[in-house]
């Protein structure tokens, strides 16, 4: 009888840590000496995905750079809840300038470090989806195009949550926001709008582009590490559920991020110099309704009479992602 030898560690590749893993295989987050780049006492909502995503990404970047890191932050939730005078939650050098200029400010910091001969100090720019795909898009594209030595991280919670949940160009179709109400024949955000920023980033031909979610820490940390192995412009798009804006339970934050990936709603992949080089396969396929039903922003699609036609369109979008990126595992993958 054939026996398969599997490098198997109970929860090795999914949980944060595990006593059975060697130190090198554990996540940064499992380390008691992790930086906690954004520390306790911040004022984010209960279960905030963005606070979590920021700590994951920056702690990983801190480890890779041995603490030689500067962060530039756009205006938004992350900035407001982390630095209300007189308290800051940041444990790393951190600069906030404006809503739409974080990529450019990051460029300036990187330029200063280079001119000062402090090349070892790496720069991360970060913003929510509004600061990235909308108001910060011009400066972001400029930073990409010049290939400035900045890792820019978008924490995508699909709307302007800081100002009270308004629509952004990252808001998905059919989602209710304060400016795309669930009324009329096409309730919620219209179909056919919005930007796919990771692909736009890839079109710039920059060294590294990746998407990730707060539900897959190993994947996220690996991508931060990979990103830091390049010089030049890099882009990481992290999917971070927002309990407030999405009308979801605060304990469902990671669950939702996982479902977004498993349904194909949010494709998780990475690309180098404009070409997709890796795809994180779906492990337990699920219909989009599993994901949608947990969020009040989609409540108008369910119940009676509900909008099965709209749900079908969302499913079709997920299916298109699955087809485009080849998200379903094949025999070979297993």
């Amino acid at each position: 009888m054939s026996e398969t030898r599997v490098h198997f560690y109970q929860v090795g590749s999914f949980a944060v840590g595990n006593r059975l893993l060697s130190a090198g295989e554990r996540t940064v987050q499992s380390d008691r000496r992790r930086t906690n780049s954004i520390d306790s006492g911040h004022r984010a909502c209960q279960g905030c995905g963005e606070a979590l995503g920021a700590r994951y990404a920056l702690d990983a970047a801190m480890r890779v750079t041995s603490g030689q890191l500067v962060a530039v932050n756009a205006t938004g939730c992350l900035e407001v809840f982390s630095t209300p005078f007189p308290e800051t939650s940041w444990q790393i050098p951190w600069l906030h300038s404006l809503f739409g200029n974080a990529p450019a400010v990051a460029t300036g910091v990187a330029a200063a470090m280079r001119v000062k001969g402090r090349d070892q100090v790496r720069v991360v720019g970060q913003a929510g989806d509004g600061g990235t795909v909308d108001i910060g898009f011009g400066t972001l594209s400029g930073m990409f195009e010049r290939n400035d030595d900045v890792l820019f991280i978008c924490y995508d919670n699909e709307g302007y949550m800081n100002t009270g949940v308004q629509r952004s160009a990252a808001t998905p179709p059919a989602a209710r926001t304060a400016t795309t109400d669930a009324v009329g024949p096409e309730p919620g955000n219209p179909f056919g709008q919005g930007k796919d920023l990771p692909r736009i980033a890839m079109a710039h031909g920059i060294p590294y582009v990746a998407t990730a979610t707060v539900a897959d820490l190993h994947d996220l940390e690996r991508k931060v590490e990979r990103a830091m192995s390049f010089h030049g412009a890099r882009y990481l798009h992290v999917f971070v559920p927002c309990p407030l804006g999405w009308g979801a339970a605060s304990n469902d934050t990671i669950h939702l991020a996982r479902l977004a990936k498993e349904t194909g709603i949010f494709p998780v992949y990475e690309a180098e110099y404009g070409e997709v080089t890796g795809v994180t396969k779906i492990r337990r396929p699920a219909p989009v309704t599993d994901y949608l039903r947990l969020q009040r922003r989609y409540a108008h699609l369910f119940g009676h009479p509900g909008r099965p036609d709209v749900v079908a369109r969302l499913q079709a979008m997920a299916d298109a992602n699955i087809a485009r990126y080849g998200l379903l595992a094949t025999e070979e993958d297993e």
């Binding site: 005078f85 450019a104 330029a111």
Partner: protein, 415 residues
């Protein structure tokens, strides 16, 4: 070394000798020659170390400067007009963060109607931003002011804007005695930031400040501007002592002794005004000039002392506040109190300010015929016709185009 040189190039040379470490460039007339020249110096390696960054907008130019300055680099950029307005959010931000960026503003009008020629509307638009604004009368002064500006900015941790009239100065080729590198190095020490992004000493810069402290933050910024009122003349004096040349300072009095009439102005027009005043002085008229070099901070005391109790003060300014009147004049009025004060708006959008017109202005003032707010060389006819048209035609269209049409008509059609 004295040389015949275009204003823009003189500025570029002067800035380069200040050893800027990050220079952001985005083209807009009439400042483009400055950054072109600096770009070439970086490219050929004569200015090093320096990061020259071709950004995608003025907003990015100021933003990159913010990042660079916060990370401890000496940052410089230049802009004008619409460019300044496009970066205005970042302009305020740089001041709010107390970052000693130096920027050349090649003063130019603001559209619509689009206009590339000189006036001071752009500078006035950021008057309250927290930047120090120094106005140069000549290219020599502009070149010297940049050296002083870095010193001042870094002393106080406040950004400084050196304003020079677009085209009139930037594109004028005239003699400028540029400081050499050794001289600049003697005058301007390396940049030591008051705060810096540093992994060895992390801090959060740019916190959100609520009602509990915002007023104090603002007041402190104001106090820094008041400190500048002391530092600006000190630095100018030091400069004069080191290089034997008067440049900068707060105000620039000219033939004020016993003058009953004083013309107040900023920028390149002062030269023309001085010529006019000389002419009248020769005719025995008691007339003088007060040039304002430091517009922000505004030297209330210096202006008060310079103007004293004059019979009349005429403020000639290249900008005004629509619906109100003179901008500089308002500040001057604040300084001198009850003295009769006239505002004359002149040279908007590049219109030449002539000596004849200036003298006519003075005459009218002496004759009591000068309104508190008047516009030099205003074409009353055009105004009258457009107003009449607007009064009769509901959809009268944009009056900028109408005025152009009006002016373009064959001469015989004009009333």
């Amino acid at each position: 070394m004295l040389q015949q040189i275009e204003g823009s190039h003189a500025i570029a040379e002067s800035v380069a000798r200040c050893r800027p470490e990050v220079v952001c460039a985005y083209p807009i007339s009439p400042q483009t020659h400055i950054i072109e020249a600096i770009g070439a110096m970086v490219k050929e390696g004569t200015l090093a170390p320096c990061e020259f960054i071709n950004v995608e907008s003025e907003f990015a130019a100021m933003s990159v400067s913010i990042g660079a300055s916060a990370a401890g680099a000496r940052a410089y950029t230049a802009t004008a007009s619409q460019g300044l307005l496009f970066m205005i959010e970042a302009v305020y931000n740089a001041a709010g963060l107390g970052l000693p960026i130096v920027m050349t503003l090649a003063n130019r009008a603001i559209g619509a109607p689009i206009n590339i020629w000189n006036d001071h509307s752009d500078a006035m638009a950021v008057r309250d931003s927290g930047w120090i604004q120094l106005f140069a009368e000549t290219n020599q002064e502009a070149a010297d002011l940049h050296v002083q500006a870095f010193r001042l900015a870094e002393d106080l941790s406040v950004p400084v804007m050196v304003c020079m009239d677009g085209f009139i100065l930037t594109h004028a080729v005239e003699g400028v005695d540029l400081l050499d590198q050794e001289q600049v190095d003697r005058f301007l020490p390396p940049y030591e930031p008051r705060q810096v992004l540093d992994p060895e000493d992390p801090a959060s810069i740019g916190a959100m400040v609520g009602p509990e402290a915002f007023e104090e933050v603002r007041y402190l910024a104001h106090l820094r501007q008041l400190d500048a009122l002391d530092r600006i003349p000190e630095i100018a004096a030091e400069f004069a002592e080191m290089f034997g040349r008067d440049s900068g300072g707060l105000v620039r009095p000219y033939r004020l002794a016993d003058a009953d009439t004083v013309i107040v102005a900023m920028g390149s027009v002062l030269g023309t005004i001085k010529d006019a005043v000389d002419e009248r002085r020769e005719a025995g008229e008691r007339i003088g000039v007060l040039g304002i070099t430091s517009f922000r901070p505004f030297p209330l005391e210096a202006v008060r002392q310079a103007l004293g109790a004059r019979e009349r003060v005429i403020v000639v300014e290249k900008a005004f506040s629509l619906g109100m009147g003179g901008v500089l004049a308002t500040d001057v009025a604040m300084a001198i109190g009850t003295t009769t004060l006239h505002t004359v708006v002149a040279g908007l959008g590049g219109r030449p300010i002539t000596r004849v017109a200036l003298l006519d202005m003075v005459d009218r003032a002496r004759a009591g015929a000068l309104e508190p707010l008047s516009f030099l060389d205003l074409d009353e006819g055009v105004i009258a016709r457009e107003r009449a048209r607007m009064a009769t035609v509901r959809r009268s269209g944009p009056f900028a185009e109408n005025v152009l049409r009006d002016l373009g008509r064959p001469r015989e059609d004009q009333a």
